[in-house]
Point group: D2
Chain length 401, copies 4
Amino acid sequence: MTVFDPVLDPRLAELRDRVRDFVRDEAIPAERELVDSGAEPTEELRRRLQAAAASAGLLSPTAPRRWGGLGLSMSEQAVVLTEAGYSLLGPLALNCAAPDEGNMHLLHRVATPEQQEKYLAPLAGGAVRSCFAMTEPSPGAGSDPSMLRTSAHWDGGAWVVNGRKWYITGADGAAWTICMARTPEHAGSPAGATMFLIDADNPGMRIVRHIDSLDRGFVGGHCEVLFTDCRVPPEAVLGEVGRGFAYAQVRLAPARLTHCMRWLGLAQRAQDMALDRAAEREAFGSRLADLGMAQQMLADNEIDLAASRALIAHAAWLMDRGERASAESSIAKTFVAEAVGRIVDRAVQLHGALGVSHDLPLALFLREVRPFRIYDGASEVHRMSIAKRAVRRRTAARGPQ
Amino acid sequence: MTVFDPVLDPRLAELRDRVRDFVRDEAIPAERELVDSGAEPTEELRRRLQAAAASAGLLSPTAPRRWGGLGLSMSEQAVVLTEAGYSLLGPLALNCAAPDEGNMHLLHRVATPEQQEKYLAPLAGGAVRSCFAMTEPSPGAGSDPSMLRTSAHWDGGAWVVNGRKWYITGADGAAWTICMARTPEHAGSPAGATMFLIDADNPGMRIVRHIDSLDRGFVGGHCEVLFTDCRVPPEAVLGEVGRGFAYAQVRLAPARLTHCMRWLGLAQRAQDMALDRAAEREAFGSRLADLGMAQQMLADNEIDLAASRALIAHAAWLMDRGERASAESSIAKTFVAEAVGRIVDRAVQLHGALGVSHDLPLALFLREVRPFRIYDGASEVHRMSIAKRAVRRRTAARGPQ
Amino acid sequence: MTVFDPVLDPRLAELRDRVRDFVRDEAIPAERELVDSGAEPTEELRRRLQAAAASAGLLSPTAPRRWGGLGLSMSEQAVVLTEAGYSLLGPLALNCAAPDEGNMHLLHRVATPEQQEKYLAPLAGGAVRSCFAMTEPSPGAGSDPSMLRTSAHWDGGAWVVNGRKWYITGADGAAWTICMARTPEHAGSPAGATMFLIDADNPGMRIVRHIDSLDRGFVGGHCEVLFTDCRVPPEAVLGEVGRGFAYAQVRLAPARLTHCMRWLGLAQRAQDMALDRAAEREAFGSRLADLGMAQQMLADNEIDLAASRALIAHAAWLMDRGERASAESSIAKTFVAEAVGRIVDRAVQLHGALGVSHDLPLALFLREVRPFRIYDGASEVHRMSIAKRAVRRRTAARGPQ
Amino acid sequence: MTVFDPVLDPRLAELRDRVRDFVRDEAIPAERELVDSGAEPTEELRRRLQAAAASAGLLSPTAPRRWGGLGLSMSEQAVVLTEAGYSLLGPLALNCAAPDEGNMHLLHRVATPEQQEKYLAPLAGGAVRSCFAMTEPSPGAGSDPSMLRTSAHWDGGAWVVNGRKWYITGADGAAWTICMARTPEHAGSPAGATMFLIDADNPGMRIVRHIDSLDRGFVGGHCEVLFTDCRVPPEAVLGEVGRGFAYAQVRLAPARLTHCMRWLGLAQRAQDMALDRAAEREAFGSRLADLGMAQQMLADNEIDLAASRALIAHAAWLMDRGERASAESSIAKTFVAEAVGRIVDRAVQLHGALGVSHDLPLALFLREVRPFRIYDGASEVHRMSIAKRAVRRRTAARGPQ
């Protein structure tokens, strides 16, 4: 079975249809609020939408069943998250948006039972939000994680974190964050990076500001966060000391794939709007749908959508088989981020001036999808990795010459 | 001489340098206000900037000297307007922004002396603003001007205009508009379209709303404007009855070229920011400027800039020789609109998350330039014209087969 | 299972490995002959390679087992034909090249038992070659099949075919052709098109010339073929009279997908050469593999390859489930034809002057893959279909507005 | 005056028209020979065409008048060489093809009067051909000239050259070559590279082979040339010892621009063929010229042609003013090489199967233009230079921060 054919699995088909109805009835109508305010979704909106999703039995599709989620596999997520992404507010409503969705995955994989009880349970239940503090402003860790400057040292039985993070999505209002910091050798652990679970009410953690950004679709915004002598106990360490970069990979590969799923849904929405426009609008004596240049844009959208879906499905299927799929998810992310941008751009173009007006949500989509070519690894960084991996694989396959 | 070498003309070089200094000292600092407010420039800001420009002797570079402008040729405008466009607020400050700049040109070419005195003089002097009401919402005249639905009929010694226009830039606060309406045969004039000069305080003209749009760089916004039994006297006719489509061409060809000049300036600004970033930011052990993929983006920007400049220069030079240059300005518009979008997009990408934040104005540039592929003739409409014209020209050149 | 994971099916994995070894040992060494001659593969070469394939038990992977083939499903073909396509001569060697492979499929689906015995059996066994005569020179049926001009009429108990075909691949030396002709209403069959099986020794069929073409990879060339009062008996009708256009679809959808598989293999070969070059060649103080612009080309190739594979796999999987997959195969064909061209082009570029020399086969690959954007439906024609189908699907899904 | 308006200069307009007629009457008809043979132009064909050009007073438009040429400025060359390039054989016919045209320029600028008499005079007169031996096979000087491995040492009053060159255009049949070799410090000259004029009958110089290449449009082919203890007297040094890299720049900047001019002419030819096809061929009930996707290709060709012309004109104009125009010619070369490839490719696509057949010369054009993205500096190398230059220029303009 592939994710594209939930018809093979009637339960998945039924779930997909329920998500589709929910998105149409609850999420899409709420978008107007976003378009009109030009601001981030409010906490109140989140609570309202998530309550509706909980009533519909659709909350937290990616979270483990044990913590109240639907426990979907990656292939199943590809169906459901794409459907959710059909609205800008769908993933938030279903509690499967970034960064919470990625944090759930990471806690599920790495956290202790006590940490899961304390952090994962309320997150999966929609009681709280969280964030993930890795990226730093220049000259810190951006595209190149090895430039990490936030550090933690061991002092009197506690870790003390110092550093500045930015573009920390959802930080304002989050109950806690996972913070990545450079750590020295410690009690047998190697020097490296360590992830810490830090409660938002820790006096050493401070939200400096909301960064005003092209995209505004994330509740809690993109924030600058300062850690100043932020003391956390040893049990705040997520997993093991010194393994932060490895855990980042655990989080990143699936997280970038779920990003792709959600944005693919939005791209499908843009294309549906373009198809509707093409079927209705006339110019130069024809329906747009019968004009060659419009057909070309519509067809290129179909091709981009199909290739995006196929790349996502393949990577998801590999992950469900237990593989890392780093190469595949990196390729999918790079392609989908660019494809989604092209698709929305063509949909805007097909609408003419209406497309850049906020009478429709397309202009907002344009703003929301642009940063995806930068977030979660800029396209250039992924391409560098993809090329290096390909050269290594080929060189290994050839053996000594 | 070409516009690229004002050194050949010391006066032009000196003018360019003064514009450059003015933009750096007055226009760029004022941009922060736009970025922070997320709103259109205010009338107050316009007045402040234009007063500064007037003091500097730089007001209205495209307006005839007779009306207080600098009376520059198109080739000279290519130098000065590009320099002005280096800031989002430069053209407004110098009173050479759309739509006023195009209206000045049209009035200069078509209006009666009385109309020039009444409308052109205060416009060129920065005392008032104006707008140009041609585009209509679906199913009216958008890409295809032949779908014009606004109409005027002759009734008791006056013209009575009825219709709905939208995306009328600068309408709110404008002293008057030029309105394009379909007219029947009248007193020897053929049926067709006619342009009317309509004062904003005419009770038949009403600003319905500001259309919330992806771009917000125009003072007075993009408005929806309703004409309801709007009565205007015979002397409100601009030029001759029935010649509206011909006058639209008079306005459009140079207006789209001055658009190109201004946006080219902004693209140059984005590239300068990208070059600075590349020279300063390090990643993966190198300056960005030494990384191949960054070099490729920087080089592609240089190429796009050079080709844009050259196409603009060539069309301007033809116009200065008295040619229509419809084909050339259409080609320039199509290329430049797309090139400018690519250039700003690459500059954003080179800045990573900083590029999509409003800490820099780049994200705003991205929003402002996107609609240029739609305004003043969508790229698809220009391509259709370019192709048809090329086929006709070739067929004529071959003669009978 | 997907085609990408033959490891899940040890028999398929084993078959793939044997094809890989065969291609490396037999097909690739024979390519030099093609490169040096600049000519089509000879009949002698075909017989030699197919004899080797038969010895290796690899002949006719797509043909039914009943006729001596391997009877692979489309998903299995995706593995094996891609592997075969790794050499320009691999598909010919395995007897799964166009047009024979498509003809086998069509005969298997549509022909009578007698026709299968007479035509399919020797074709699947490699005893003869065949061709498919549909395309016509201007103003006949090219991109637009409705412009079909070849016609047949019923005369004295026989069909009489008249018309001119061109770009008939493999015609010279083929034992027979399937010829598409316009037919009138006949004995209860509707007017339309009919397919005829015509033996090459029919005096009414004549090979006019080999068309000298950019690509030369097909044995028997691309020929112009003239049918002049070509009489064939009623049993020459393939399937039913008047259903030719429907049968063309039966042939085309899978045939374009197997085309994609084969060319994908060649693209993978080009990429492997590019990876080898990048790992070995130094310039500007680095290995090419460490230069950003080279990495970008290599990564773009990986992305194009992955997306091509995924689109092919998805369409093949649908076909194996009994679906037509017209939309999916059309999308795959359009994307893959363009992707393959890009991949080979980048591989050439990475090799510099060596890439355009015939010291390597890359320049030949460049010539061979270019026409794929035209053959089997030009990209533009596919895009038109893709767009129309999408508009129809969306309009139907929305229901009455 | 710009090159685009020879009407301003009646003599230039008249010259252009004569070249146009000559190309139509002499060069284009001779192309069929090339298409049919698939081989390089023969020496016999060169002599025949150049005799006709000499009769028409059109020989050697770029050579100084003193040596029998027309002594055109770069801007004038832009008119005439583009016109010549309208046929693959036009530049050869007029004796303004590579590499002779570049060698004439270099000798004119650097050679001694004696060298000019001996080498330039017969070259400009069409009596002999020449070549330019710089490029080396891997791991020598390709994209990166600093990897030069051919060397010369001073031995007993003579220079002794050793090394292997390849892709030496026109070597077979050339009367002499300019050979670039690494030289040590010598008699006050610094270590570096030196250019030597070497007669083809020097026993130390040997044509190893014609390299079979994708392009075959150059008489004398692309050859591999071996220098083995090749002794040349001191007066064989072109210019000064140790200044070879500087002279390479003297030759390269204008030579790459004249390349652009010639290929632009061929691209114009391809577009004219596409326009003719679009006006004549029908499909789907319309002329191609009325189908949107065809219009898009035709329009993109017009845009690419216009931008190419404008970039060439600007660089030529700068050179005529005495500037190096390295940046501008590098930008022009990169853009034009890619644009020309796109234009020919689109023209092929618009012709369908006919476009890839050799019934038309388009498929040959496709082969001939592809290497231009590699020759004279691969696009990637130019982009690296363009980016570095831009960063340096910007950094200098900003001054200390």
